[in-house]
């Protein structure tokens, strides 16, 4: 048979995008909101989630899906707080995809949940390319990482609904320029909400909590 060329022009992540839409509709059917949290390792995703659970545990029914390359350290921290947590281990994979999230959702009683935090694998590169079916995407950048990260890893920042600068309690010890940073974010993503906070000291957390309430209202 002679060789011939078939035109395809179909997105490689198309199957993931379809699954993400299925996840989102499933959550909508149960009136659950899901917030996807992305950052480098060690920026404070788990700490932020823990503090947010602490603040809202009497108001909303919260669950957490933890994505990590290996271990259940993060999920264990959450379950110790009597909050349902599902651990996804990607076994080396550097991001979550929509199918993994579907499987995790199977393990949760969605009729008894108002809010799911989806803690993505610590990575600012490919996590941003995979729609998971969340309603909001949040990117955390911590002060020690430096204020140049949005320009180095722009994709994560241009699609975020909210950008959090965490660990502002250590600003005096680092070269992070908090005066020009808002301009960098609004330049790349004018619709992103920017929060400067410290999950450790609690500074700035109230504005973030208000945003969570807005998201759930």
């Amino acid at each position: 048979m002679a060789a011939r060329t078939i035109t395809i022009k179909e997105n490689i992540l198309g199957a993931n995008a379809e699954q993400a839409e299925i996840n989102r509709k499933r959550l909508d059917g149960h009136h659950v909101r899901m917030i996807n949290i992305m950052s480098s390792p060690g920026s404070g995703k788990t700490s932020l989630i823990m503090q947010t659970i602490h603040r809202f545990r009497n108001k909303y029914r919260i669950a957490v899906i933890e994505g990590d390359v290996a271990s259940s350290i993060d999920a264990d921290k959450i379950t110790q707080q009597n909050i349902p947590a599902i651990q996804i281990n990607t076994s080396g994979g550097c991001h979550l995809d929509a199918r993994m999230v579907q499987t995790a959702l199977d393990g949760l009683d969605l009729d008894r949940i108002d809010l799911i935090f989806l803690e993505n694998v610590g990575n600012l590169v490919c996590t941003a390319d995979f729609d998971l079916g969340a309603h909001k995407d949040v990117v955390i950048l911590s002060v020690p990482e430096g204020d140049d990260k949005p320009h180095k890893y722009p994709v994560a920042f241009i699609e975020a609904d909210a950008v959090l600068v965490n660990k502002i309690d250590v600003l005096p010890y680092f070269d992070f320029n908090s005066d020009t940073f808002p301009e960098i974010i609004s330049g790349l993503n004018p619709s992103a909400r920017l929060f400067s906070l410290s999950a450790k000291t609690g500074e700035g957390m109230e504005r973030w909590f208000s945003w969570i309430e807005e998201t759930l209202s």
Binding site: M1, A2, A3, R4, T5, I6, T7, I8, K9, E10, N11, I12, L13, G14, A15, V125, C126, D129, D148, H151, K152, P154, V155, I158, E183, I184, S186, G187, L188, P190
Partner: protein
């Protein structure tokens, strides 16, 4: 990979000779890694031994202030015309199969 096999099956192809991928610079796709894993994944399928051709799409930015288009160079997000810092990424996020050669 599944997209390529599905399309080939629909087209009644017996063998995939080559796959032409369009990859934007912002997608984080590493050619060497793709080719390496493709070898494993395509084993025992009609795509075994297929060649992968890549077309790169460079990062392209648009200044939100003066609308000028410019290529991304060395993580410099300043508009070369008006020095504005408000830029939109308009090119470089492509990731799709352009076409396949089959028989």
């Amino acid at each position: 990979m599944s997209l390529a096999l599905k399309t080939a099956a629909t087209a009644g192809a017996r063998k995939i000779i080559s796959i032409h991928l369009v990859v934007g610079d912002y997608t984080g796709v590493v050619e060497d890694a793709v080719s390496f894993y493709f070898g494993f994944l395509s084993k025992d399928t009609i795509a075994a031994g297929a060649r992968i051709d890549y077309t790169h799409v460079p990062g392209q930015l648009r200044c939100r202030d003066c609308d000028v288009l410019f290529p991304l160079q060395k993580h410099d997000f300043h508009c070369p015309k008006c020095d504005g810092k408000r830029v939109e990424i308009v090119g470089g996020r492509e990731l799709y199969i352009e076409n396949m050669e089959v028989e």
